[in-house]
């Protein structure tokens, strides 16, 4: 056996199976499944008194399907076959005459690994830090190895739906309430597991026990309504077929016994792998882990060591940056207008972490260590002690230049990173000493949750400054992309076009709330007008104006944006498109203009306009030298600015439609609406001339 180790303790009759598959994490592929089945048969033949599953990998218990393997063949037949075989193996393990436990020691049991616990294991012993979950929907699939059925019985329909459809992963402690997980210190785990096995001979698998009803059996009558509600929430976007498939499978299984219900999932599950958007999701996941770390190719040896740094500005962004730095073990000098404000900033970070500690997601120790690494400062001379300062003051060119000058005075050769979202590095560095030590580090809000960091290389930025910024970003566990200089760089500019296109659609006569609904239907996490309020109308207005000032007629800013802003419709406590609980605020209509003589676009065209406007903007960024490679295009768009992940990003979206089709559609839209965002980027012409009508990424 190459992926499992089988050991039998002669004295106790207990069998231990150690999972250790090829690759850095344990994953389920054809070889693993065959070996698991054989191991179960062998244990039965050996007359095992109990079976303990453990992992040979330090951080991974068993983490779902081998995505590379299933993506490579991308065949419903082959995936269906693999799933059948997995069902066979898990069924054999569940039906075995001996009790089965798993030991999860500071590891992850995700997807199929979690399902193995839920279906086959009579009990699970896990450390508090272990993480267990069903994130399948994040790769365009759903748990089809008994996870939904078993979890529904244990936790109830509502909880199961929230976990499965949310693709959630939880600390083991959160699952302790289910009655099958015991959280214990690492050194006790195996002994307790052994005791448990010896104390429960002949344990019948709970899923096969006809006497055991689902925990919410009493609410059986409400299940259809719960599923209907889940459909309403999850299946809005037809481009994400995995949600529908999951719910169809679930519904079909409700009237069937456990194993039959699980077996019936195959026909809903296997065809997913042939859907291009599922392949997009899997590819995106693989690229995030496999390609992203190799993307920002900088002279790593030139990077300054970033064990410590300074953050200038303790506002929302500055606090977020300080937090992720300190959490990653970096020492942070936190500055604001004065020491009291900086100190208050640190306190607020602590206060904002409190709920996480209370919920058990964070240990108090982690928070305390983090806060201990943040030193609120008053004396700017301390800047001379750190290699890098990240400024996050108000978005105003004059202010940022003033801050830069002050910082230079205190520390002449510090690398100055600006967390501006729109202002070009070249303008920022203009007239300052050492313009080569100015670089952009554009974070996304909320900083601790958003995975992306856009590092901006100005025309004068030195390899040293660039490498230092990238090194700091990697240290903060961000996915780092490097882009060229320009107004709004890549992400702000493309995000801006999304919001502006939303306004334009409304000006063309579409109901603004219909615009948002269509955007969600197209796969966006939020509609553009909703985003205007949630991201903050003030921020968006100023960002768009800063870009407009520099881009001129390359950017259309609809008059309604200014009118909304001037009328004080900016969200965040002020009125906007929505009231509480997403109730439309129809008074917003008073501030929306109408384009004279405009005919509102058909729904399909409106959705396409949102996607094409962003796609075209990304390609215009290539024209202008802001972007150079298609992995950066796609990862930046999905991780930073909400381009629907089912498309993998603008480059894949264009590839799948064909560049000629995209260019033709852009021309049609440009002729029809006269908007700069639809003037086809020159890059389309170049790629088409090169014969590359698709296969960009």
């Amino acid at each position: 056996m190459s992926e499992l180790r089988y050991e039998r303790d002669g004295a106790s009759g207990l069998v231990t199976i150690t999972i250790d598959t090829a690759g850095p994490v344990n994953a389920i592929g054809g070889e693993f499944v065959a070996e698991l089945f054989a191991a179960v048969e062998r244990a039965a033949a050996d007359g095992a008194k109990g079976l303990m599953l453990v992992s040979g990998k330090p951080k991974s218990f068993l983490d779902g399907a081998n995505l590379l393997e299933i993506r490579k063949s991308a065949s419903a037949f082959e995936l269906g076959h693999l799933l059948d075989k997995l069902h066979d193996a898990l069924a054999a393990l569940a039906r075995s005459p001996f009790p089965v436990v798993a030991v999860v020691q500071d590891q992850t049991a995700l997807g199929g690994g979690c399902e193995l616990l839920l279906w086959c294991c009579d009990h699970v012993f896990a450390t508090e830090g272990s993480r267990i979950g069903l994130p399948e929907v994040n790769v365009g699939l759903f748990p089809a190895a008994g996870g939904m059925e078993a979890l529904r019985r244990l936790a109830g329909m509502e909880t199961m739906l929230a976990i499965v459809l949310g693709g959630r992963t939880m600390p083991a402690g959160e699952l302790a309430g289910l009655g099958i997980v015991t959280v214990a210190p690492a050194k006790e785990l195996r002994a307790r597991a052994r005791e448990w096995l010896l104390a429960h001979p002949g344990q019948v698998n709970r899923n096969l026990d006809p006497a055991r009803k689902a925990v919410d059996e009493a609410r059986r009558g409400e299940w259809p309504a719960m599923i209907a509600e889940a459909r309403r929430r999850s299946c809005v976007c037809p481009e994400k077929p995995w949600f529908r498939a999951a719910l169809d499978a679930l519904e079909e299984g409700l009237s069937l016994p456990f194993e039959q219900a699980v077996r019936a999932e195959r026909k809903h599950f296997a065809p997913l792998i042939e859907h291009p958007n599922v392949q997009n999701k899997i590819d995106l996941f693989l690229n995030m882990t496999g390609v992203a770390p190799r993307l920002a190719a900088v002279a790593a040896d030139k990077a300054r060591p970033v064990d410590s740094l300074a953050v200038m500005g303790a506002g929302l962004m500055g606090r977020g940056i300080a937090q992720v730095c300190a959490d990653a073990g970096m020492r942070v000098l936190l500055f604001d207008v004065d020491e009291a404000t900086a100190r208050a900033g640190r306190e607020r970070i602590g206060a904002e972490l409190e709920p996480l500690v209370k919920k058990g997601k964070w240990t108090a120790e982690r928070r305390d260590k983090l806060l201990g690494r943040i030193e609120p400062g008053a004396d700017r001379r301390a800047l001379a002690r750190v290699p890098l300062v990240i400024e996050s003051v108000f978005e105003d060119l004059a202010l940022k230049r003033k801050v830069l000058a002050e910082i230079r005075a205190a520390s002449p050769d510090i690398v100055f990173a600006s967390n501006t979202s729109t202002l070009p590095m070249n303008e920022l560095a203009e007239g300052s000493d050492h313009p080569e030590l100015v670089v952009g580090m554009h974070y996304f809000s909320p900083v601790p949750l958003m995975p992306l960091l856009e590092v901006v290389r100005g025309p004068r930025t030195s390899p040293e400054a660039l490498a230092t910024a990238v090194a700091a970003g990697r240290r903060q566990k961000k996915t780092v992309i490097v882009v060229g200089d320009g107004p709004g760089f890549y992400t702000s500019r493309t995000f801006g076009v999304f919001v502006l296109t939303g306004f334009i659609l409304a000006e063309l006569g579409l109901d603004p709330w219909e615009v948002d609904r269509l955007a969600v239907e197209a796969g966006f996490p939020q509609g553009p007008l909703n985003v205007y309020g949630t991201a903050g109308g003030n921020v968006i207005y100023h960002a768009c104006m800063a870009m407009k000032e520099r881009m001129g007629e390359r950017l259309d800013v609809p008059p309604s944006l200014e009118r909304m802003w001037k009328a004080g419709y900016v969200g965040a406590g002020k009125p906007c498109f929505y009231k509480e609980k997403m109730e439309p605020d129809r008074t917003a209509l008073e501030h929306l203009g109408r384009r004279p003589g405009a005919k509102p676009p058909e729904p399909a065209e409106a959705k396409e306009m949102l996607l094409l406007a962003m796609t075209n903007q990304a390609f215009q960024c290539i024209d202008e030298g802001v972007l150079d490679d298609f992995f950066t295009v796609d990862l930046g768009a999905v991780l930073g600015i909400g381009v629907p992940d089912c498309w993998h990003g603008p480059a894949r979206y264009a590839s799948q439609r064909g560049l000629r089709v995209v260019r033709d559609r852009l021309r049609v839209l440009h002729d029809k609406y006269g908007l700069a965002c639809f003037r086809p980027a020159r890059e389309f012409d170049r790629l088409i001339a090169c014969g590359a009508d698709r296969a960009l990424v």
């Binding site: 490679d629 992995f631 001339a689 090169c690 296969a695 960009l696």
Partner: protein, 401 residues
């Protein structure tokens, strides 16, 4: 008098150490030649001379008079000439045939290009004198492909792209485009016109190869872009270069009168050829110079040319050369690119160096025929910067621009 092509065939091109790697290059050449002769309906006694282009004779069992070896295997006891002008070889051989035909010394010719890069032996000169003590150093003549005292060709290609402002992103895009165009043409069955399927033995297996082995249309520009540059170049990577390949190509040429006498099918007229040189590092742009010269010799303008083939020795060659031909005008450049290597090129199909010249010419002839006629120009660069170009014309309703 005009010169016509009455037969044009090739083997599929094999991947390095692939399906053709254990087949003798002599057998590849004979296979392609037989297929071309059969297609032309040319029997014994109907070929007056054989011209062979080959670049690395060391790959043969006997590295001499390759042409005569081929002729004897074909049963053609006619005079043979084997030439080496690196990658230009097969088109130079074609030009020699053209001279003979024009001079009236011969009325028909068989032209062959052949290369087996998988079979190139490692070399040492140490053993001739004997080794008394110490290591024996083996040289690999194809790693990298270079000449003493000069940069490797990978570096020259990369420098040419830089000099003419062709960004790496376009090199990679053109490379991916080559695979995609090949795939579309292969799906449409276009290569059946030119490929003579071959039975080849590799290890214990004998297989029938009917398709080029190297194309990888499932890749992406982004994947290609991740590959690191090679041999100290700035932008040349395994992704925007062809592999090291095996294959053979052959054409039958005749005067139009001879073709008429024999009732041979006329595929195309060979209108004109030209050879040029430039500074030794100029391989990426010399196809443009060759095309300009051949256009001038035939009093044609590029506007009158329907299809262009520029061998993808690296993706830089077609990009740099068409940019020069467009006089740097971007719009014109992109329009030229759209009719360059329309069914893919060496990056996808492979580049058996001494065989490709005839491959690009025949690919273009068959494509012109499918399009109902027209004119095409094919050009190739050769080591230390020589260039060959040829213009062909296919009569038909759609002929000429």
């Amino acid at each position: 008098m005009s010169i016509v092509i009455t037969g044009a065939k090739r083997t599929p091109f094999g991947r390095y150490q692939g399906g053709l790697s254990e087949t003798e290059p002599l057998d590849l050449a004979v296979h392609a030649a037989k297929a071309a002769l059969d297609a032309a309906g040319a029997g014994t006694g109907q070929i007056d001379q054989i011209f062979v282009g080959n670049c690395i004779p060391g790959a043969f069992e006997a590295a001499s008079v390759t042409g005569r070896q081929i002729g004897l295997k074909l049963g053609l006891d006619v005079f043979t000439t084997t030439v080496d002008t690196a990658c230009c070889s097969p088109l130079t051989a074609l030009r020699l045939a053209q001279w003979g035909l024009r001079l009236g010394e011969i009325r028909s010719a068989l032209v062959v290009g052949v290369e087996s890069m998988s079979r190139v032996p490692h070399l040492t000169r140490q053993l001739r004198a004997g080794v008394r003590i110490g290591e024996v150093k083996l040289i690999d003549p194809i790693f990298p492909i270079t000449y003493p005292g000069y940069s490797s060709v990978a570096v020259d290609a990369s420098d040419g792209a830089e000099r003419y402002g062709v960004p790496k992103r376009m090199l990679d895009a053109f490379a991916m485009g080559s695979h995609l165009k090949w795939a579309a043409a292969a799906r449409a069955g276009k290569f059946a016109d030119e490929i003579a399927p071959i039975r080849a033995r590799k290890g214990r297996a004998e297989t029938l190869l009917a398709e080029d082995e190297q194309p990888r249309p499932d890749g992406s520009i982004a994947r290609i872009a991740m590959l690191p540059p090679v041999f100290g170049s700035k932008t040349t990577t395994p992704g925007n270069a062809p592999g090291l390949n095996d294959g053979a190509t052959a054409m039958v040429l005749m005067t139009d009168e001879r073709a008429k006498e024999l009732g041979a099918p006329v595929l195309a007229e060979l209108v004109e050829q030209a050879g040029v040189t430039d500074s030794p590092n100029g391989i990426s742009w010399v196809p443009a110079l060759a095309i300009r010269k051949v256009l001038q010799r035939s009093a044609l303008r590029l506007d009158g040319i329907d299809l262009i083939e520029i061998n993808e020795a690296f993706a830089a060659m077609p990009l740099v050369s068409t940019k020069i031909l467009a006089d740097g005008d971007e719009e014109r450049w992109l329009r030229l690119l759209e009719r360059t290597n329309v069914n893919g090129g060496a990056v996808a199909i492979g580049h058996p160096v001494g065989a490709s010249g005839l491959r690009i010419l025949m690919t273009m002839v068959y494509e012109l025929r499918r399009r109902g006629g027209g004119r095409g120009v094919a050009a190739i660069c050769g080591g230390l910067t020589q260039g060959e170009a040829a213009i062909v014309k296919v009569d038909g309703q759609g002929g000429g621009r």
